[in-house]
């Protein structure tokens, strides 16, 4: 969107640089002058917060890797060494561990914001798809990072999640042995998880760059879902949104800091402070809170369907629950972007949110009695929302009248 550039190189050095690597022009276009709808609310701040989270994880992660040892005999102790002996290690390790939770909290808000305001709709489908890809990469990275301390929950998380691949017909078992580097989760597994856990954040950073690129071509969506018509609808990104985002980040850092300083382990599971034992499974295996909804879906499938056994079927639903997000731009048939103008969608949106929170709760409960039945109902509803409700809603719903412009929605008709 170079047409927004008002940059004219001032000094001789800037002129020289601009003809060779126009990085100052690029920064000015995309970080400062970039025209941004003037009605963005605080839900939009989570994009910036997520960039901050990724930076925090990369910086603390690089430091932790300087002290950590990826060997089954030493990994558990090296994490304790970081927490007890390394200067400031307790805070850095806590920041990294709590940071993962904060990262996921922010990404869920970011995704649900996109789902409410229709940020995935044309012309932003690729932006959305890249976002789902980032979410998948985050899940892989968080999972492998969780395995590294080699505690009871870590090791068993690795067992359970890698075992998912064993249900793939024919190639399942050889593939599983390839992924683990053995017949079970052991030292080769830990080594490669460490290597990949270090690599993937940089891949995420690269996809984030594409995500922002795909954002800057059509420009931001906004709470009305109405396209930007002219310059009266927008403000330059700097200082208006840089300062607003900075304020949002400070607010976000308050609970973040509270966890780090007062309850660094509260989001973890006590069993992870017992070293991994391949012969005894903890009495109750639970993943980190941010995986619970998907874990509940995986567990809910305990029946065979046609020729597909429950194991493979569970994997299909588990994978499908995330992969279906890729199709969201085409499943939602409504022409109206923002949920603010969709009276029926609003109800179903909040039902979906409640259902998702319900799945989170169920994922943390033991797989018995009423919880199994409720998990099945919530799983069914999760898929119904995408496959039935969204496509049908778009056809039968009468949306409220849209404002003619962003300016009008902000200032009211009389002033427009």
């Amino acid at each position: 969107m170079s047409e927004h550039s008002t940059y004219t190189p001032g000094t001789g050095i800037e002129k020289w640089l601009d003809e060779r690597l126009p990085i100052i022009r690029f920064s000015k276009e995309h970080l400062m002058d970039f025209p941004t709808p003037k009605n963005l609310n605080y839900w939009w701040t989570f994009g910036a917060i997520l960039v901050m989270c990724l930076a925090v994880q990369i910086v603390t992660g690089i430091i932790l890797a300087m002290h950590y040892t990826p060997n089954v005999a030493l990994a558990f102790d090296s994490v304790e060494h970081i927490r007890r002996n390394v200067n400031g290690g307790r805070i850095i390790q806590a920041t990294h561990a709590v940071g993962a939770s904060m990262f996921f909290a922010a990404v869920y808000i970011h995704i649900f914001r996109g789902m409410y305001f229709g940020s995935y709709k044309a012309p932003r489908e690729i932006l959305w798809i890249l976002g789902v890809l980032i979410f998948l990469l985050m899940m892989a990275t968080a999972f492998m990072g969780y395995v590294l301390p080699w505690g009871q929950m870590s090791g068993w998380a690795a067992q359970v999640i890698t075992n998912i691949f064993s249900f793939i017909p024919i190639i399942g078992t050889p593939l599983l042995e390839l992924l683990r580097g053995g017949f079970t989760v052991d030292n080769p597994t830990l080594n490669r998880f460490f290597s990949l856990h270090y690599l993937l954040p940089f891949v995420i950073a690269a996809v984030v760059a594409l995500h922002i690129w795909a954002l800057h071509v059509p420009g931001n969506n906004n709470p009305t879902g109405v396209d930007v018509k002219d310059s009266r609808d927008t403000l330059p990104f700097h200082p208006y949104y840089t300062m607003k985002d900075a304020f949002g980040m400070v607010l976000f850092m308050i609970p973040f800091a509270w966890f780090i300083f007062f309850a660094p382990d509260i989001l973890g599971h006590p069993d992870n402070y017992v070293q991994y034992n391949s012969q005894v499974t903890p009495a109750h295996i639970v993943p980190e809170w941010y995986f619970l909804p998907f874990y509940a879906i995986l567990r809910a499938i305990d029946f065979n369907l046609l020729f597909i056994n429950s194991g493979l079927l569970g994997v299909i639903f588990f994978g499908g629950s995330i992969l279906i997000l890729f199709l969201l731009p085409w499943l939602d048939t409504s022409k109206v972007r923002s949920g603010n103008f969709r009276p029926m969608f609003k109800w179903f949106y909040w039902l979906f949110v409640i259902n998702f929170i319900g799945l989170t709760y169920l994922g943390a409960q033991p797989a018995e009695g009423i919880y199994v039945i409720l998990s099945k109902i919530c799983t069914a509803y999760y898929f119904l929302h995408f496959i039935v409700i969204l496509p049908v809603l778009g056809r039968i719903e009468t949306p409220k009248p849209l404002p003619t412009s962003i300016s009008e929605s902000v200032l009211g008709k009389a002033h427009a």
């Binding site: 017949f183 079970t184 012969q279 005894v280 499938i301």
Partner: protein, 174 residues
């Protein structure tokens, strides 16, 4: 068209495709070692078979031993448990298997199984659950006294590893 084979462009196309094909095969051959290094290494594969003495295990007792890094349950079943397993009609089973097929003839009191749940690999807890066999704490799979899946997400019975009786009190696994 008939003279096309004399057209130097055609010859060039052939060379172009042939070069590309050779390059693709070469690239695949180069990538394969990079993937193959992920497979179990020689030190992992070396732990192929073990022998295990059964004397000293009491009736009704289970022990867990390690084979290829995998835990294996060895259970000396009680007469009640065997009778209970034999009494189950095959039609009630999700993965039908007779009790006889799960043990060795003449040694039906011994049940030798890979301990990992066939769902996602957790270690079930013994003498637990509704079927007096094993109950997996992770996802609620329940197995009977012959290690057969009776309830929950596990698709198949607990796996019997290849093993044989060397003598009445010695088994060889693997």
């Amino acid at each position: 068209m008939a003279d096309n084979h004399k057209d130097p462009k055609n010859r060039r196309d052939f060379l172009f495709v042939a070069t590309g094909a050779v390059a693709a095969v070469g690239a695949a051959a180069t990538v394969w070692p990079l993937i193959n290094q992920l497979n179990p290494d020689a030190s992992t594969l070396a732990l192929a078979s073990i022998e295990f003495g059964l004397d000293g295990i009491e009736e009704g007792q289970s022990v867990t031993i390690m084979w290829r890094g995998l835990p294996v349950f060895v259970r000396y079943r009680t007469a009640d448990e065997i009778a209970e397993a034999k009494a189950v009609p095959l039609s009630e089973l999700k993965d039908p298997a007779t009790d006889e097929s799960r043990t060795k003839e003449g040694h039906e009191q011994w049940l030798v199984m890979l301990a990992n749940c066939t769902h996602l690999g957790c270690i079930p807890i013994g003498e637990a659950g509704e079927f007096d066999g094993w109950s997996c704490p992770c996802h609620g799979s329940q197995f009977d006294t012959a290690g057969r899946i009776r309830k929950g997400p596990a698709p198949t019975n607990l796996i019997i590893p290849p093993y044989e009786f060397v003598s009445d009190t010695l088994i060889k696994i693997g």
